[in-house]
């Protein structure tokens, strides 16, 4: 069946894709740049196009908690947020993952205050990196939509039962109009049958959720979250393959290898930045530079083996991030290094924070990074790329 392309704003497209997943309870709270997703979902419900409960909560903390209760009662749930909202949710999100509830949410990635900024970077999602939520990153709006369907498929898979978060870059995707194919409802229904929980709050079969454990058992409970996360790797690949079968076009997956098979220099990145990087790769390839991109689509669980396979031929690697770990280095950069180190490889890895808080990353910046690492420049510390030292105030007053 041919599905038709429409010119849609990213957030709108996501809302309609989510509606076709038929979530039963939705709870969300306004925050830029996520807001259009929840506004549009409210409208879809108000128009009677989706039979769902849209719960008007008093905060993101409330949103996540309502979703938790609803999911534990055995229904399909959805929420979306950004930045401060995600951080306010974070205590609940850790709990959702620990309780193995297959919640799906979107994060319209935005910088964290202070200084206050509504623009894009990945520090919000990375702040909850370790909680056991599966994290997808979209490069464009089509992928953001498709990843929502795959997210439900993976989350609800009985081998997994974990929350999944789809990351789409704030403004860069949420507010950009692109030709997008919304999933056909019949196909979506075929791909995602109604959700039936393994265990739920049900008077006919009473169960206790959220008990407390003594030290002799707690670690095992926590390890099971890790284990489920790791088990999701092949499930994500299966769910993506099935997506292609049902919808007739590929989407999802763990990562994308873009002209990287024979590349000497491999760039690693995630999110919409990869669009810019691909343009630079194309140009430099034409100029004869052997450069390629490894795009991380599934960031948690970290696809160690797939990454290793993809970069094993590289002479040097540059990780390009929209994140940082203040007081240490990058976020994804050390993960790439760990992957290589554990495999006994010595490939030099450089890490660059190309922006925080929405600054544009021009193609010539990517080009500069490629040139520098390809020339054999050795990095000694994670680099805040093109930091404007001239606008910094006196760093240590009086020193």
């Amino acid at each position: 069946m041919a599905e038709k392309q429409e010119i849609l704003e990213g957030a709108m497209a996501v809302a309609h894709a989510v509606a076709r997943c038929r979530p039963e309870v939705i709870a969300a709270y306004p925050i830029t740049p996520q807001t259009h997703i929840s506004e549009e979902l409210s409208q879809i419900v108000a128009d009677g196009e989706l039979d769902a409960e849209f719960v008007k909560v008093e905060s993101e903390f409330g949103a996540a908690s309502v979703i938790l209760g609803a999911s534990a009662t055995g229904v399909r749930t959805y929420t979306a947020t950004s930045s401060q909202g995600l951080l306010l949710m974070s205590e609940v999100l850790w709990n959702i993952a620990g309780m193995r509830l297959p919640v799906v949410l979107a994060c319209a990635n935005r910088s964290i205050s202070a200084p206050l900024s509504i623009w894009c970077d990945h520090q919000d999602a990375e702040a909850i990196r370790d909680c056991g939520i599966i994290q997808f990153y979209a490069e464009d709006n089509q992928e953001a939509c498709d990843q929502h369907l795959i997210a439900y498929k993976v989350a609800e898979d009985r081998r997994v039962l974990l929350p999944v978060m789809v990351n789409l870059d704030g403004f860069l995707l949420t507010h950009v109009f692109e030709p997008t194919i919304l999933p056909d409802q019949q196909l979506a229904d075929r791909y995602l049958p109604p959700y039936e929980a393994v265990l739920k709050l049900d008077p006919a079969n009473p169960a206790t959720f959220g008990a407390f454990t003594e030290p002799d058992k707690c670690m095992e409970g926590r390890w099971m979250v890790h284990d489920a996360c790791m088990r999701s790797l092949p499930v994500i690949e299966e769910a993506s393959a099935e997506f292609e079968k049902v919808f007739g076009r590929p989407s999802g997956g763990l990562l994308e290898e873009y002209k990287s098979r024979d590349a000497e220099t491999i760039l690693i990145a995630k999110g919409s930045l990869c669009g810019t990087i691909k343009d630079v790769v194309d140009e430099m390839r034409e100029e004869g530079t052997k450069v390629g991109l490894l795009r991380i689509k599934t960031y948690r669980p970290w696809p160690t083996e797939a990454v290793l396979k993809a970069v094993s031929g590289a002479k040097q690697i540059a990780v390009i991030e929209r994140g940082a770990s203040f007081g240490a280095g990058g976020v994804m950069t050390p993960e790439v290094k760990e992957t290589l180190y554990d495999a006994g490889m010595q490939t030099p890895v450089s890490g660059f924070c190309v922006q925080l808080g929405g600054r544009e990353v021009p193609p010539d910046g990517i080009r500069e990074i490629v040139d520098r690492v390809a020339s054999g420049e050795k990095q000694t510390a994670y680099e805040y790329f093109r930091l404007k030292t001239e606008i910094l105030p006196e760093l240590v007053p009086g020193a």
């Binding site: 039963e24 309870v25 709870a27 039979d51 769902a52 409960e53 719960v55 008007k56 909560v57 008093e58 905060s59 903390f61 409330g62 908690s65 309502v66 979703i67 938790l68 209760g69 609803a70 999911s71 534990a72 009662t73 055995g74 229904v75 749930t77 205590e91 609940v92 709990n95 309780m99 709050l201 049900d202 008077p203 009473p206 169960a207 206790t208 959720f209 959220g210 008990a211 407390f212 454990t213 003594e214 058992k217 409970g221």
Partner: protein, 324 residues
């Protein structure tokens, strides 16, 4: 006498302290609501003493998520049941301690009430954060000593009166607000059933004696709970569709607050430290005001009126000193 526990909703074997009023209240509420109820819980004593993995004291579905979100989790349960058309005959009861309800969880509670979610929320009011070792909450009574509002040379204990949560809750225009007590255990099932007979959000707060935190004799839990009411320290009432219905006044008349304070270690400093007795006047004055609020001026006993006058004078003196 043999007991048959098969019909119990909160099954014996939980690990509360001896004489725990919170356990009493919970047991009664659970039994009155019945097994067709889904319970949500805040972090706190009640959660810890009923859900030590791999055991559970709950014969009904029960979920604990965090300290401050029990009301929102209950809302989520409610919307899920509503969506699947499974609300008929099923109660959703959110629960939490005074800390989880009146302090850190008040946002989620207010949200659920304001939305009109069809849930009953029960607060076990033992007047402090007991699970973490008796710290002060906004429901800790005036001059009670806790580990974060200790008595000392420069302190008579907690220096603020209780936050009026029932009034705050009632301001959400909900059909039922009840304030009960573990000491009036025969009243509680009626209150629970009354509450559950209404659609929409309901709130029930239950004064729950905590022998460990109040430093009281575990065998005297019910007696102390009743003294809280009989002295005017803890008024019991219902607000049903906006109309306030106070509990019938004590048969033998209102008692002096000392009778309530004396058996509790948390007020011991008032009887031991120099000048303490004089400070009890302030508690008596608060109790007098409570009695007036629910039963009218004529009901306020003379000793309470005197205390109110004295407390006022004390306040004026203090102010004069402060401005001098």
């Amino acid at each position: 006498m043999e007991f048959d526990y098969r019909d119990r909703v909160l099954v014996p074997g939980y690990t509360s302290c001896l004489g725990c009023g919170e356990a009493m209240a919970m047991r009664i509420v659970a039994q009155a609501a019945g097994k067709n109820t889904i319970f949500t819980s805040c972090t706190g004593c009640s959660e810890i003493f009923t859900s030590r993995y791999p055991t559970s004291s709950w014969a009904a579905p029960w979920i604990h998520s965090l300290f401050e979100n029990s009301a929102a989790v209950a809302s989520g349960v409610y919307y899920a049941l509503k969506h699947r058309g499974k609300l008929e005959g099923v109660n959703v009861i959110g629960t939490g301690g005074d800390g989880g309800t009146a302090d850190i969880g008040i946002g989620c509670l207010s949200g659920a009430l304001e939305r009109g979610d069809d849930i009953l929320y029960c607060c076990w009011d033992n007047e402090a954060y007991m699970n973490t070792g008796i710290q002060r909450s906004s429901l800790t009574p005036f001059y009670a000593a806790t580990t974060t509002s200790p008595a000392g040379k420069a302190s008579w204990g907690n220096d603020r009166p209780k936050k009026d949560i029932p009034a705050i809750v009632a301001a959400h225009n909900i059909p039922y607000v009840g304030v009960g007590s573990c000491g009036y255990y025969r009243e509680l099932p009626r209150m629970v059933k009354k509450a559950l007979s209404y659609r929409g959000p309901k709130y029930l707060q239950i004064h729950s004696v905590c022998p460990a935190g109040w430093r009281s004799d575990p065998s005297q839990t019910a007696v102390i709970a009743r003294l809280a009411f009989e002295t005017g320290c803890y008024p019991l009432y219902e607000i049903i569709e906006g109309e306030t219905k106070p509990h019938k006044p004590p048969k033998e008349g209102w008692k002096h607050v000392e009778e309530y304070l004396k058996p509790q270690g948390r007020f011991r400093h008032l009887f031991r430290a120099e000048g303490g007795e004089g400070q009890i006047v302030r508690i008596q004055a608060l109790a007098g005001a409570n009695i007036r609020k629910f039963y009218g001026d004529d009901a306020v006993p003379d000793f309470a009126k005197e205390a109110e006058k004295k407390a006022e004078e004390m306040a004026e003196e203090q102010e004069a000193e402060a401005t001098a």
